[in-house]
Symmetry: C2
Subunit: 309 residues, 2 copies
Protein backbone atom coordinates (compact mmCIF):
# COMPACT_ATOMS: atom_id res chain seq x y z
CA UNK A 1 0.00 0.00 0.00
CA UNK A 2 1.06 3.58 -0.47
CA UNK A 3 2.27 4.98 2.78
CA UNK A 4 3.42 8.55 2.27
CA UNK A 5 6.08 6.97 4.33
CA UNK A 6 8.43 9.76 5.27
CA UNK A 7 5.74 12.08 6.46
CA UNK A 8 5.65 12.01 10.20
CA UNK A 9 4.59 15.25 11.72
CA UNK A 10 4.53 16.74 15.15
CA UNK A 11 5.20 13.56 17.00
CA UNK A 12 8.10 11.42 17.87
CA UNK A 13 6.88 8.65 15.65
CA UNK A 14 9.93 7.62 13.75
CA UNK A 15 10.43 6.33 10.27
CA UNK A 16 13.08 4.17 8.80
CA UNK A 17 15.22 5.95 6.32
CA UNK A 18 18.09 4.70 4.27
CA UNK A 19 18.76 8.01 2.61
CA UNK A 20 22.02 9.81 3.09
CA UNK A 21 22.90 12.88 1.11
CA UNK A 22 25.82 12.04 -1.09
CA UNK A 23 27.44 15.39 -0.47
CA UNK A 24 27.31 15.19 3.29
CA UNK A 25 27.65 11.57 4.27
CA UNK A 26 28.49 12.18 7.92
CA UNK A 27 25.90 14.85 8.59
CA UNK A 28 22.50 13.92 9.93
CA UNK A 29 19.96 14.71 7.27
CA UNK A 30 16.69 13.18 8.34
CA UNK A 31 14.77 13.97 11.47
CA UNK A 32 15.37 10.47 12.74
CA UNK A 33 19.09 10.76 12.17
CA UNK A 34 19.10 14.07 14.03
CA UNK A 35 17.28 12.51 16.95
CA UNK A 36 19.48 9.44 16.92
CA UNK A 37 22.53 11.69 17.14
CA UNK A 38 21.11 13.83 19.93
CA UNK A 39 22.80 14.05 23.31
CA UNK A 40 21.07 13.68 26.66
CA UNK A 41 21.59 17.41 27.18
CA UNK A 42 19.47 18.12 24.10
CA UNK A 43 16.47 17.00 26.09
CA UNK A 44 14.74 18.54 29.06
CA UNK A 45 12.30 17.22 31.62
CA UNK A 46 9.27 19.39 32.20
CA UNK A 47 9.02 20.73 35.73
CA UNK A 48 6.48 18.64 37.70
CA UNK A 49 5.07 21.92 38.99
CA UNK A 50 4.31 22.92 35.41
CA UNK A 51 2.95 19.57 34.30
CA UNK A 52 -0.74 18.68 34.29
CA UNK A 53 -2.20 15.22 33.93
CA UNK A 54 -5.64 15.38 32.36
CA UNK A 55 -6.91 11.86 32.99
CA UNK A 56 -9.74 10.77 30.72
CA UNK A 57 -11.47 7.39 30.50
CA UNK A 58 -9.36 6.62 27.42
CA UNK A 59 -6.06 7.61 28.94
CA UNK A 60 -3.83 10.44 30.03
CA UNK A 61 -3.16 13.76 28.37
CA UNK A 62 0.00 15.50 29.56
CA UNK A 63 0.05 19.29 29.38
CA UNK A 64 3.07 21.46 30.06
CA UNK A 65 2.16 24.87 31.41
CA UNK A 66 3.91 27.98 30.12
CA UNK A 67 4.57 30.15 33.18
CA UNK A 68 7.14 32.18 31.22
CA UNK A 69 4.24 33.55 29.18
CA UNK A 70 1.21 33.18 31.41
CA UNK A 71 2.38 33.10 35.03
CA UNK A 72 -0.92 34.34 36.46
CA UNK A 73 -2.95 31.81 34.53
CA UNK A 74 -0.52 29.04 35.44
CA UNK A 75 -0.85 29.95 39.10
CA UNK A 76 -4.61 30.02 38.93
CA UNK A 77 -4.74 26.71 37.10
CA UNK A 78 -2.46 25.13 39.71
CA UNK A 79 -4.82 26.42 42.41
CA UNK A 80 -7.86 25.06 40.58
CA UNK A 81 -6.18 21.71 40.10
CA UNK A 82 -5.18 21.46 43.75
CA UNK A 83 -8.77 22.13 44.74
CA UNK A 84 -9.84 19.29 42.42
CA UNK A 85 -11.86 21.80 40.46
CA UNK A 86 -11.70 19.82 37.22
CA UNK A 87 -12.33 16.35 38.64
CA UNK A 88 -15.65 15.12 37.33
CA UNK A 89 -16.12 18.00 34.91
CA UNK A 90 -16.23 17.30 31.19
CA UNK A 91 -15.17 17.94 27.67
CA UNK A 92 -17.92 20.21 26.44
CA UNK A 93 -17.03 21.12 22.92
CA UNK A 94 -15.23 19.63 19.94
CA UNK A 95 -15.35 21.82 16.85
CA UNK A 96 -13.85 20.21 13.79
CA UNK A 97 -10.62 21.78 12.57
CA UNK A 98 -10.61 24.13 15.52
CA UNK A 99 -10.66 23.26 19.24
CA UNK A 100 -11.56 20.75 21.93
CA UNK A 101 -12.65 22.52 25.10
CA UNK A 102 -13.32 21.40 28.66
CA UNK A 103 -14.67 22.86 31.85
CA UNK A 104 -17.80 23.08 33.97
CA UNK A 105 -21.04 22.36 32.08
CA UNK A 106 -22.86 24.35 34.73
CA UNK A 107 -20.49 27.30 34.70
CA UNK A 108 -23.22 29.69 33.63
CA UNK A 109 -25.65 28.63 36.33
CA UNK A 110 -24.40 30.30 39.47
CA UNK A 111 -26.35 28.04 41.78
CA UNK A 112 -25.00 24.85 40.21
CA UNK A 113 -21.55 25.96 39.10
CA UNK A 114 -18.57 24.45 40.79
CA UNK A 115 -16.95 26.63 43.44
CA UNK A 116 -13.62 28.28 42.67
CA UNK A 117 -12.33 28.08 46.24
CA UNK A 118 -9.14 30.07 46.47
CA UNK A 119 -8.79 30.40 42.70
CA UNK A 120 -9.62 33.64 40.95
CA UNK A 121 -12.66 33.95 38.72
CA UNK A 122 -10.77 36.19 36.36
CA UNK A 123 -7.11 36.65 35.59
CA UNK A 124 -5.43 39.63 33.99
CA UNK A 125 -4.83 39.16 30.28
CA UNK A 126 -1.54 37.52 29.40
CA UNK A 127 -1.83 37.71 25.64
CA UNK A 128 1.64 39.11 25.07
CA UNK A 129 4.84 39.18 27.02
CA UNK A 130 6.71 42.43 27.44
CA UNK A 131 8.94 41.71 30.41
CA UNK A 132 10.12 38.95 32.70
CA UNK A 133 13.22 36.76 32.72
CA UNK A 134 15.04 36.45 29.43
CA UNK A 135 13.61 33.97 26.95
CA UNK A 136 15.58 31.80 24.64
CA UNK A 137 14.28 32.46 21.13
CA UNK A 138 15.28 30.29 18.18
CA UNK A 139 14.14 32.20 15.13
CA UNK A 140 12.92 30.33 12.08
CA UNK A 141 14.41 31.39 8.75
CA UNK A 142 11.35 31.42 6.50
CA UNK A 143 9.12 34.14 7.83
CA UNK A 144 5.46 34.02 8.69
CA UNK A 145 2.17 35.32 7.36
CA UNK A 146 1.02 36.68 10.70
CA UNK A 147 4.01 38.00 12.61
CA UNK A 148 7.29 39.83 11.95
CA UNK A 149 9.31 36.96 13.41
CA UNK A 150 8.49 33.44 14.56
CA UNK A 151 10.41 30.69 16.24
CA UNK A 152 10.59 28.82 19.51
CA UNK A 153 10.74 30.49 22.89
CA UNK A 154 11.46 28.31 25.89
CA UNK A 155 10.37 25.29 23.89
CA UNK A 156 7.11 26.71 22.56
CA UNK A 157 6.04 28.09 19.20
CA UNK A 158 6.07 31.85 19.48
CA UNK A 159 6.10 35.10 17.55
CA UNK A 160 7.68 38.42 18.29
CA UNK A 161 7.85 41.96 17.10
CA UNK A 162 11.33 43.45 17.38
CA UNK A 163 9.88 46.94 17.20
CA UNK A 164 7.63 46.59 20.21
CA UNK A 165 9.78 44.08 22.02
CA UNK A 166 6.71 41.91 22.55
CA UNK A 167 6.68 38.13 22.31
CA UNK A 168 3.61 35.94 22.24
CA UNK A 169 2.76 32.28 21.97
CA UNK A 170 1.32 31.01 18.70
CA UNK A 171 -1.84 28.94 18.24
CA UNK A 172 -0.26 25.83 16.78
CA UNK A 173 -1.73 22.34 16.96
CA UNK A 174 -1.70 21.14 20.56
CA UNK A 175 -1.45 24.56 22.16
CA UNK A 176 -3.71 25.03 25.17
CA UNK A 177 -5.48 28.29 25.95
CA UNK A 178 -7.80 29.75 28.56
CA UNK A 179 -11.27 30.48 27.21
CA UNK A 180 -12.65 33.92 27.88
CA UNK A 181 -15.78 35.94 27.29
CA UNK A 182 -15.73 39.28 25.55
CA UNK A 183 -13.84 41.10 28.26
CA UNK A 184 -10.06 40.71 28.16
CA UNK A 185 -10.10 40.00 31.89
CA UNK A 186 -12.78 37.35 31.65
CA UNK A 187 -10.56 34.27 31.44
CA UNK A 188 -9.51 32.26 34.45
CA UNK A 189 -8.10 28.97 33.28
CA UNK A 190 -11.19 27.13 34.52
CA UNK A 191 -12.24 26.53 30.92
CA UNK A 192 -9.45 25.38 28.66
CA UNK A 193 -9.19 24.60 24.95
CA UNK A 194 -6.66 22.88 22.77
CA UNK A 195 -6.07 23.46 19.07
CA UNK A 196 -6.99 20.34 17.04
CA UNK A 197 -6.78 21.66 13.48
CA UNK A 198 -5.16 24.17 11.21
CA UNK A 199 -3.42 26.70 13.43
CA UNK A 200 -5.97 29.46 14.16
CA UNK A 201 -3.30 32.11 14.29
CA UNK A 202 -5.88 34.89 14.23
CA UNK A 203 -6.35 34.08 17.92
CA UNK A 204 -2.77 35.03 18.71
CA UNK A 205 -2.58 38.05 21.03
CA UNK A 206 -6.31 37.82 21.64
CA UNK A 207 -6.40 35.17 24.32
CA UNK A 208 -4.01 33.64 26.82
CA UNK A 209 -2.21 30.53 25.72
CA UNK A 210 -1.19 28.72 28.85
CA UNK A 211 0.65 25.62 27.71
CA UNK A 212 0.92 22.76 25.28
CA UNK A 213 -0.19 19.15 25.11
CA UNK A 214 3.03 17.14 25.07
CA UNK A 215 1.44 13.71 25.08
CA UNK A 216 -2.04 12.38 24.34
CA UNK A 217 -3.19 14.82 21.67
CA UNK A 218 -4.82 11.94 19.83
CA UNK A 219 -7.24 11.55 22.74
CA UNK A 220 -8.46 15.11 22.37
CA UNK A 221 -8.35 15.32 18.57
CA UNK A 222 -10.23 12.11 17.80
CA UNK A 223 -13.37 12.88 19.80
CA UNK A 224 -16.75 13.04 18.11
CA UNK A 225 -17.45 16.56 16.94
CA UNK A 226 -20.24 18.36 18.74
CA UNK A 227 -23.27 19.06 16.63
CA UNK A 228 -24.40 22.16 18.48
CA UNK A 229 -23.39 25.71 17.68
CA UNK A 230 -19.62 26.15 17.88
CA UNK A 231 -19.19 22.40 18.25
CA UNK A 232 -20.70 22.18 21.72
CA UNK A 233 -22.19 18.84 22.60
CA UNK A 234 -25.95 19.19 22.61
CA UNK A 235 -26.77 16.50 25.12
CA UNK A 236 -25.15 16.05 28.53
CA UNK A 237 -24.53 12.37 27.84
CA UNK A 238 -22.39 13.28 24.83
CA UNK A 239 -19.87 15.03 27.03
CA UNK A 240 -16.74 13.14 27.88
CA UNK A 241 -16.12 13.01 31.62
CA UNK A 242 -12.83 14.15 33.09
CA UNK A 243 -11.65 11.75 35.76
CA UNK A 244 -9.18 14.16 37.24
CA UNK A 245 -6.64 16.84 36.53
CA UNK A 246 -3.60 16.71 38.72
CA UNK A 247 -0.28 18.46 38.93
CA UNK A 248 2.56 15.99 38.34
CA UNK A 249 4.23 17.32 41.48
CA UNK A 250 1.25 16.10 43.50
CA UNK A 251 1.22 12.63 41.98
CA UNK A 252 3.19 9.73 43.48
CA UNK A 253 6.26 8.88 41.43
CA UNK A 254 4.82 5.55 40.38
CA UNK A 255 1.82 7.25 38.78
CA UNK A 256 3.76 9.85 36.86
CA UNK A 257 4.43 9.85 33.14
CA UNK A 258 8.11 10.71 32.83
CA UNK A 259 8.81 12.52 29.59
CA UNK A 260 11.65 14.32 27.94
CA UNK A 261 11.11 17.10 25.43
CA UNK A 262 13.65 18.20 22.86
CA UNK A 263 15.11 21.58 23.73
CA UNK A 264 14.61 24.25 21.12
CA UNK A 265 17.73 26.29 21.84
CA UNK A 266 20.34 23.81 20.70
CA UNK A 267 22.22 22.96 17.51
CA UNK A 268 20.35 19.67 17.52
CA UNK A 269 17.02 21.47 17.26
CA UNK A 270 18.34 23.70 14.49
CA UNK A 271 19.50 20.58 12.65
CA UNK A 272 16.03 19.10 13.05
CA UNK A 273 14.46 22.23 11.60
CA UNK A 274 16.86 22.04 8.68
CA UNK A 275 16.11 18.35 8.16
CA UNK A 276 12.43 19.23 7.94
CA UNK A 277 12.93 22.21 5.65
CA UNK A 278 14.78 20.06 3.14
CA UNK A 279 13.63 16.48 3.28
CA UNK A 280 16.22 14.16 1.94
CA UNK A 281 14.84 10.76 1.36
CA UNK A 282 13.78 8.81 -1.64
CA UNK A 283 10.19 9.91 -1.46
CA UNK A 284 10.52 13.69 -1.71
CA UNK A 285 11.13 15.05 -5.19
CA UNK A 286 10.82 18.76 -4.46
CA UNK A 287 11.99 19.60 -0.95
CA UNK A 288 10.07 22.62 0.28
CA UNK A 289 13.21 24.45 1.37
CA UNK A 290 10.97 26.24 3.86
CA UNK A 291 9.04 25.49 6.98
CA UNK A 292 6.11 27.14 8.64
CA UNK A 293 6.15 27.60 12.40
CA UNK A 294 3.38 25.15 13.18
CA UNK A 295 4.88 22.44 10.99
CA UNK A 296 8.00 22.12 13.11
CA UNK A 297 7.76 19.00 15.25
CA UNK A 298 8.53 19.21 18.95
CA UNK A 299 9.69 15.69 19.78
CA UNK A 300 8.75 14.11 23.09
CA UNK A 301 10.02 10.79 24.34
CA UNK A 302 9.53 8.58 27.34
CA UNK A 303 12.12 9.17 30.01
CA UNK A 304 13.35 6.62 32.50
CA UNK A 305 11.79 7.28 35.88
CA UNK A 306 14.18 8.68 38.43
CA UNK A 307 14.05 9.74 42.03
CA UNK A 308 12.01 12.87 42.46
CA UNK A 309 9.89 12.43 39.38
CA UNK B 1 -19.13 29.13 29.72
CA UNK B 2 -16.40 30.67 27.61
CA UNK B 3 -17.08 30.00 24.00
CA UNK B 4 -14.42 31.64 21.88
CA UNK B 5 -17.63 32.48 20.21
CA UNK B 6 -16.67 34.20 16.98
CA UNK B 7 -14.20 31.60 15.92
CA UNK B 8 -15.80 29.42 13.34
CA UNK B 9 -13.38 28.01 10.86
CA UNK B 10 -13.60 26.20 7.60
CA UNK B 11 -17.24 25.37 7.82
CA UNK B 12 -20.51 26.99 7.21
CA UNK B 13 -21.38 26.93 10.88
CA UNK B 14 -22.64 30.39 11.55
CA UNK B 15 -22.38 32.65 14.51
CA UNK B 16 -24.55 35.46 15.66
CA UNK B 17 -22.87 38.79 15.49
CA UNK B 18 -24.16 42.18 16.42
CA UNK B 19 -21.02 44.01 15.44
CA UNK B 20 -21.05 46.63 12.74
CA UNK B 21 -18.05 48.77 12.05
CA UNK B 22 -18.96 52.31 12.89
CA UNK B 23 -17.12 53.64 9.90
CA UNK B 24 -18.82 51.41 7.36
CA UNK B 25 -22.33 50.77 8.60
CA UNK B 26 -23.72 49.46 5.34
CA UNK B 27 -20.82 47.18 4.45
CA UNK B 28 -20.80 43.54 5.51
CA UNK B 29 -18.03 43.06 8.01
CA UNK B 30 -18.44 39.59 9.46
CA UNK B 31 -18.32 36.36 7.56
CA UNK B 32 -21.95 35.75 8.38
CA UNK B 33 -22.94 39.14 7.08
CA UNK B 34 -21.01 38.48 3.88
CA UNK B 35 -22.78 35.17 3.42
CA UNK B 36 -26.15 36.64 4.27
CA UNK B 37 -25.61 39.26 1.59
CA UNK B 38 -24.46 36.79 -1.04
CA UNK B 39 -26.35 36.31 -4.27
CA UNK B 40 -27.35 32.95 -5.75
CA UNK B 41 -24.71 33.50 -8.43
CA UNK B 42 -22.00 33.58 -5.75
CA UNK B 43 -22.58 29.87 -5.29
CA UNK B 44 -21.86 26.96 -7.58
CA UNK B 45 -23.01 23.36 -7.67
CA UNK B 46 -20.27 20.80 -8.03
CA UNK B 47 -20.55 18.77 -11.21
CA UNK B 48 -22.06 15.34 -10.40
CA UNK B 49 -19.34 13.83 -12.58
CA UNK B 50 -16.75 15.34 -10.26
CA UNK B 51 -18.50 14.48 -7.03
CA UNK B 52 -17.76 11.35 -4.99
CA UNK B 53 -19.87 9.97 -2.18
CA UNK B 54 -17.73 8.05 0.28
CA UNK B 55 -20.36 6.26 2.33
CA UNK B 56 -19.19 5.10 5.76
CA UNK B 57 -21.18 3.43 8.52
CA UNK B 58 -21.37 6.79 10.29
CA UNK B 59 -22.49 8.76 7.28
CA UNK B 60 -21.51 10.29 3.97
CA UNK B 61 -18.38 12.14 3.02
CA UNK B 62 -18.69 14.26 -0.12
CA UNK B 63 -15.54 14.83 -2.14
CA UNK B 64 -15.25 17.17 -5.10
CA UNK B 65 -12.64 16.05 -7.60
CA UNK B 66 -10.26 18.55 -9.15
CA UNK B 67 -10.00 17.63 -12.83
CA UNK B 68 -8.56 21.05 -13.64
CA UNK B 69 -5.43 19.98 -11.75
CA UNK B 70 -5.46 16.21 -11.87
CA UNK B 71 -7.49 15.11 -14.90
CA UNK B 72 -5.75 11.75 -15.26
CA UNK B 73 -6.23 10.89 -11.62
CA UNK B 74 -9.84 12.06 -11.72
CA UNK B 75 -10.46 9.83 -14.73
CA UNK B 76 -8.86 6.86 -13.08
CA UNK B 77 -10.75 7.41 -9.85
CA UNK B 78 -14.02 7.62 -11.78
CA UNK B 79 -13.16 4.32 -13.45
CA UNK B 80 -12.31 2.70 -10.12
CA UNK B 81 -15.52 3.98 -8.60
CA UNK B 82 -17.64 2.72 -11.48
CA UNK B 83 -16.07 -0.69 -11.09
CA UNK B 84 -17.01 -0.59 -7.39
CA UNK B 85 -13.34 -0.86 -6.55
CA UNK B 86 -13.68 0.86 -3.18
CA UNK B 87 -16.87 -0.84 -1.99
CA UNK B 88 -16.02 -2.98 1.02
CA UNK B 89 -12.47 -1.66 1.31
CA UNK B 90 -11.45 0.24 4.42
CA UNK B 91 -9.89 3.18 6.14
CA UNK B 92 -6.43 1.87 6.89
CA UNK B 93 -4.58 4.68 8.51
CA UNK B 94 -5.28 7.65 10.74
CA UNK B 95 -2.18 9.54 11.78
CA UNK B 96 -2.81 12.31 14.25
CA UNK B 97 -2.31 15.82 12.90
CA UNK B 98 -1.60 14.43 9.46
CA UNK B 99 -3.83 12.21 7.32
CA UNK B 100 -6.64 9.68 7.18
CA UNK B 101 -6.08 7.19 4.36
CA UNK B 102 -8.21 4.52 2.72
CA UNK B 103 -7.78 1.78 0.18
CA UNK B 104 -7.25 -1.94 -0.17
CA UNK B 105 -5.77 -3.62 2.93
CA UNK B 106 -4.52 -6.38 0.66
CA UNK B 107 -3.02 -4.08 -1.95
CA UNK B 108 0.45 -5.47 -1.39
CA UNK B 109 -0.59 -9.08 -1.74
CA UNK B 110 -1.01 -9.61 -5.44
CA UNK B 111 -3.06 -12.77 -5.03
CA UNK B 112 -5.54 -11.14 -2.64
CA UNK B 113 -5.53 -7.58 -3.90
CA UNK B 114 -8.65 -6.24 -5.51
CA UNK B 115 -8.61 -6.15 -9.29
CA UNK B 116 -8.26 -2.82 -11.06
CA UNK B 117 -10.39 -3.79 -14.02
CA UNK B 118 -10.14 -1.08 -16.64
CA UNK B 119 -8.45 1.34 -14.28
CA UNK B 120 -4.74 2.01 -14.49
CA UNK B 121 -2.37 0.81 -11.81
CA UNK B 122 -0.30 3.94 -12.16
CA UNK B 123 -1.05 7.43 -13.38
CA UNK B 124 1.38 10.04 -14.61
CA UNK B 125 2.30 12.57 -11.93
CA UNK B 126 0.02 15.58 -11.74
CA UNK B 127 1.84 17.46 -9.04
CA UNK B 128 1.86 20.78 -10.86
CA UNK B 129 -0.17 22.32 -13.62
CA UNK B 130 1.57 23.98 -16.52
CA UNK B 131 -1.14 24.05 -19.17
CA UNK B 132 -4.81 23.44 -19.73
CA UNK B 133 -7.85 25.71 -19.82
CA UNK B 134 -7.47 29.02 -18.03
CA UNK B 135 -7.90 28.96 -14.29
CA UNK B 136 -9.50 31.63 -12.22
CA UNK B 137 -6.99 32.62 -9.53
CA UNK B 138 -7.93 34.84 -6.63
CA UNK B 139 -4.66 35.84 -5.04
CA UNK B 140 -4.44 36.35 -1.31
CA UNK B 141 -2.79 39.56 -0.13
CA UNK B 142 -0.62 38.34 2.74
CA UNK B 143 1.95 36.07 1.17
CA UNK B 144 2.93 32.58 2.14
CA UNK B 145 5.85 30.77 3.73
CA UNK B 146 6.06 28.09 1.04
CA UNK B 147 5.16 29.62 -2.30
CA UNK B 148 5.62 32.88 -4.22
CA UNK B 149 1.86 33.38 -4.49
CA UNK B 150 -1.16 31.68 -2.99
CA UNK B 151 -4.87 31.98 -3.43
CA UNK B 152 -7.83 30.09 -4.80
CA UNK B 153 -7.92 28.50 -8.22
CA UNK B 154 -11.23 27.15 -9.45
CA UNK B 155 -12.44 27.05 -5.87
CA UNK B 156 -9.46 25.28 -4.36
CA UNK B 157 -6.49 26.45 -2.29
CA UNK B 158 -3.54 26.75 -4.61
CA UNK B 159 -0.10 28.23 -5.06
CA UNK B 160 1.68 29.48 -8.12
CA UNK B 161 5.02 30.70 -9.33
CA UNK B 162 4.73 33.56 -11.81
CA UNK B 163 8.25 32.86 -13.04
CA UNK B 164 7.61 29.28 -14.07
CA UNK B 165 3.95 29.74 -14.84
CA UNK B 166 3.17 26.68 -12.73
CA UNK B 167 0.20 26.37 -10.43
CA UNK B 168 -0.36 23.65 -7.87
CA UNK B 169 -2.91 22.69 -5.27
CA UNK B 170 -2.03 23.20 -1.61
CA UNK B 171 -2.27 20.64 1.18
CA UNK B 172 -4.84 22.41 3.32
CA UNK B 173 -7.20 20.72 5.76
CA UNK B 174 -9.68 18.57 3.86
CA UNK B 175 -7.64 18.26 0.68
CA UNK B 176 -7.59 14.77 -0.81
CA UNK B 177 -4.53 13.25 -2.46
CA UNK B 178 -3.51 10.05 -4.18
CA UNK B 179 -0.98 8.05 -2.20
CA UNK B 180 2.09 6.94 -4.04
CA UNK B 181 5.25 4.93 -3.45
CA UNK B 182 8.70 6.31 -4.10
CA UNK B 183 8.31 6.55 -7.86
CA UNK B 184 6.54 9.65 -9.11
CA UNK B 185 4.43 7.44 -11.36
CA UNK B 186 3.40 5.09 -8.58
CA UNK B 187 0.09 6.68 -7.64
CA UNK B 188 -3.22 5.61 -9.11
CA UNK B 189 -5.99 7.06 -6.98
CA UNK B 190 -6.78 3.63 -5.56
CA UNK B 191 -5.37 4.71 -2.22
CA UNK B 192 -6.46 8.15 -1.12
CA UNK B 193 -5.68 10.34 1.87
CA UNK B 194 -7.19 13.46 3.34
CA UNK B 195 -5.42 16.09 5.43
CA UNK B 196 -6.76 16.11 9.01
CA UNK B 197 -4.31 18.44 10.74
CA UNK B 198 -1.96 21.34 10.28
CA UNK B 199 -1.48 21.81 6.55
CA UNK B 200 1.49 19.62 5.53
CA UNK B 201 2.55 22.04 2.84
CA UNK B 202 5.88 20.25 2.38
CA UNK B 203 3.86 17.70 0.40
CA UNK B 204 2.90 20.30 -2.19
CA UNK B 205 4.33 19.48 -5.62
CA UNK B 206 5.38 16.05 -4.39
CA UNK B 207 2.13 14.19 -4.78
CA UNK B 208 -1.11 14.58 -6.69
CA UNK B 209 -3.92 16.33 -4.90
CA UNK B 210 -7.10 15.18 -6.56
CA UNK B 211 -9.90 16.98 -4.75
CA UNK B 212 -11.34 18.25 -1.53
CA UNK B 213 -13.80 17.02 1.09
CA UNK B 214 -16.69 19.46 0.92
CA UNK B 215 -18.88 17.76 3.51
CA UNK B 216 -18.29 15.18 6.22
CA UNK B 217 -14.72 16.01 7.23
CA UNK B 218 -15.66 15.39 10.84
CA UNK B 219 -16.25 11.72 9.98
CA UNK B 220 -12.67 11.33 8.75
CA UNK B 221 -10.99 13.59 11.30
CA UNK B 222 -12.54 12.11 14.45
CA UNK B 223 -11.50 8.51 13.88
CA UNK B 224 -9.31 6.70 16.40
CA UNK B 225 -5.68 7.18 15.54
CA UNK B 226 -3.84 4.09 14.40
CA UNK B 227 -1.18 2.86 16.76
CA UNK B 228 1.04 1.24 14.16
CA UNK B 229 3.88 2.93 12.32
CA UNK B 230 2.64 5.96 10.37
CA UNK B 231 -0.75 5.68 12.04
CA UNK B 232 -1.76 2.46 10.30
CA UNK B 233 -4.27 0.36 12.17
CA UNK B 234 -2.48 -2.68 13.51
CA UNK B 235 -5.40 -5.08 13.56
CA UNK B 236 -7.83 -5.72 10.72
CA UNK B 237 -10.80 -5.23 13.02
CA UNK B 238 -9.67 -1.68 13.78
CA UNK B 239 -10.13 -0.65 10.17
CA UNK B 240 -13.28 1.23 9.34
CA UNK B 241 -15.19 -0.36 6.49
CA UNK B 242 -16.17 1.63 3.43
CA UNK B 243 -19.71 0.83 2.39
CA UNK B 244 -19.33 2.29 -1.05
CA UNK B 245 -17.85 5.05 -3.11
CA UNK B 246 -20.07 6.30 -5.87
CA UNK B 247 -20.06 9.10 -8.37
CA UNK B 248 -22.95 11.48 -7.73
CA UNK B 249 -23.82 11.23 -11.42
CA UNK B 250 -24.48 7.51 -10.95
CA UNK B 251 -26.67 7.95 -7.90
CA UNK B 252 -30.45 8.39 -8.16
CA UNK B 253 -31.53 11.97 -7.49
CA UNK B 254 -33.25 11.00 -4.27
CA UNK B 255 -29.99 9.64 -2.84
CA UNK B 256 -27.85 12.61 -3.74
CA UNK B 257 -26.58 15.24 -1.34
CA UNK B 258 -27.20 18.53 -3.13
CA UNK B 259 -24.65 21.13 -2.12
CA UNK B 260 -23.62 24.58 -3.13
CA UNK B 261 -20.09 25.87 -2.66
CA UNK B 262 -19.13 29.51 -2.50
CA UNK B 263 -17.29 30.61 -5.62
CA UNK B 264 -13.83 31.97 -5.04
CA UNK B 265 -13.70 34.35 -8.01
CA UNK B 266 -16.30 36.84 -6.86
CA UNK B 267 -16.42 40.10 -4.89
CA UNK B 268 -18.37 38.17 -2.28
CA UNK B 269 -15.47 35.80 -1.72
CA UNK B 270 -13.02 38.68 -1.54
CA UNK B 271 -15.28 40.31 1.04
CA UNK B 272 -15.28 37.08 3.02
CA UNK B 273 -11.49 36.97 2.96
CA UNK B 274 -11.38 40.56 4.16
CA UNK B 275 -13.89 39.82 6.91
CA UNK B 276 -11.62 37.02 8.10
CA UNK B 277 -8.44 39.07 7.86
CA UNK B 278 -9.90 41.75 10.10
CA UNK B 279 -12.42 40.33 12.49
CA UNK B 280 -14.77 42.96 13.66
CA UNK B 281 -16.78 41.78 16.57
CA UNK B 282 -16.72 42.38 20.27
CA UNK B 283 -14.49 39.44 21.01
CA UNK B 284 -11.41 40.29 18.93
CA UNK B 285 -9.09 42.88 20.40
CA UNK B 286 -6.23 42.63 17.92
CA UNK B 287 -7.46 41.71 14.44
CA UNK B 288 -4.74 39.79 12.66
CA UNK B 289 -4.95 41.94 9.55
CA UNK B 290 -3.61 38.91 7.70
CA UNK B 291 -4.76 35.49 6.69
CA UNK B 292 -2.93 32.35 5.78
CA UNK B 293 -4.12 30.32 2.81
CA UNK B 294 -5.35 27.33 4.79
CA UNK B 295 -7.27 29.50 7.25
CA UNK B 296 -9.64 30.81 4.61
CA UNK B 297 -13.00 29.06 4.95
CA UNK B 298 -14.66 27.63 1.86
CA UNK B 299 -18.34 27.72 2.76
CA UNK B 300 -20.62 24.92 1.66
CA UNK B 301 -24.37 24.88 2.12
CA UNK B 302 -27.23 22.55 1.42
CA UNK B 303 -28.88 23.22 -1.91
CA UNK B 304 -32.48 22.54 -2.77
CA UNK B 305 -32.72 19.44 -4.92
CA UNK B 306 -33.60 20.13 -8.51
CA UNK B 307 -34.19 18.14 -11.64
CA UNK B 308 -31.01 16.53 -12.85
CA UNK B 309 -29.25 16.45 -9.50
Amino acid sequence: MKTLAPLILASLACFASTAHAADAPAKPVTMQQVLDASKPSDWRRPDPNDTLYLDLPAGRVVIELAPAFAPLHADNIRTLVREHYFDGLAILRVQDNFVTQWGDPEAEHAERARAFGKASRTVSPEFERVSGPALTFTKLPDGDVYAPEVGFANGLPAARDPKSGKTWLAHCYGMVGAGRDNGVESGSGAELYVVIGQAPRQLDRNIALVGRVVQGMELLASLPRGTGALGFYEKPEQRLPIRSVRLAADVPAAERTPLEILRTDTPTFSALVEARRNRRDDWYKVPAGKIELCNVPLPVRAAPARAGD
